[in-house]
């Protein structure tokens, strides 16, 4: 029984990483305004959201299975509080941190129409922290660390995200490179002064 839990935890962890990679790449792609990965723009956006929700399911499975795993000795507060665990606290702490960030990003996204675009966007930038932390957690914690297949998957994920970021920063990213940047004119920003 506990063996099954352990395998499930490892498997769901790896799948989560792959899904998060897809989510990040699609998220970056959806900023382009170009049809990314051969998909229409709204499909990129929908897929980004759905893959994110699916990754939450797998991450939840990953965490829950570890809560019941006698070997990992994960306690309830380890799920929330990073770096205090019993089993490889630093590497496990990365997992907790990534989990917290993921929850924050997903919850604010689901509530974004209520929270407003600015709050949502600030929290959403944390994705650029969440994903590398999750990657490190996978490489460091797993009993599979050092196995060739985990390294292969991790490297493939890293390549995908780095490529997406590279594309994002390249000049060919926007469909309308000549577009003027929207930015409030400084002359209007002057501090209001009460005349006394």
């Amino acid at each position: 029984m506990s063996d099954a839990l352990w395998y499930f935890a490892r498997g769901s962890g790896v799948i989560s990483l792959v899904l998060l990679t897809v989510v990040v790449a699609l998220g970056i792609g959806s900023r382009s305004g170009k049809p990314a990965f051969g998909l229409p723009r709204f499909a990129v956006s929908l897929l980004h959201r759905n893959a994110a929700l699916l990754s939450v399911v797998f991450v939840a499975g990953h965490v829950i299975s570890l809560l019941f795993d006698p070997y990992a000795q994960l306690r309830l507060f380890d799920v929330v509080l990073p770096f205090v665990g019993n089993y490889r606290p630093v590497w496990q702490g990365f997992g907790t941190l990534a989990f917290d960030l993921l929850v924050a990003i997903v919850v604010t996204s689901l509530l974004r129409h209520r929270l407003g675009a600015r709050t949502w966007r600030v929290v959403h930038w944390l994705a650029y922290l969440c994903w590398p932390v999750a990657l490190m957690h996978g490489l460091g914690t797993g009993s599979d660390n050092g196995t060739w297949w985990l390294w292969t998957i991790s490297i493939a994920c890293a390549v995908a995200v780095v490529a997406a970021i590279g594309w994002r920063l390249s000049t060919g990213f926007s469909r309308f490179p000549a577009r003027a940047e929207r930015q409030v004119a400084p002359r209007l920003r002057k501090e209001l002064e009460e005349v006394r």
């Binding site: 959806s30 900023r31 229409p40 709204f42 129409h113 675009a117 469909r175 577009r179």
Partner: protein, 68 residues
């Protein structure tokens, strides 16, 4: 029902122009233009679902459906 664009938020990401092709086109810079030339174009009933989806999917939360 009408579609309202908050121009202070819209970044011309083109999600709405794709979902509401019958209503919107892109201008020279990728920002949506109503085909009927209206400030807040009316949403024909068959497009209401797509309009709601556009409101939900707009990455900048720039779209709103308004009664007026």
């Amino acid at each position: 029902m009408k579609l309202h664009v908050d121009w202070t938020a819209c970044d011309g990401r083109g999600v709405c122009t794709e979902l509401l092709e019958e209503m919107l086109v892109e201008d020279d810079w990728g920002f949506p233009v109503a085909r009927d030339g209206q400030r807040s174009p009316a949403v024909p009933p068959p497009l209401e679902g797509a309009a709601k989806q556009a409101v939900d999917r707009c990455p900048m939360l720039a779209l709103k459906l308004i009664a007026r």
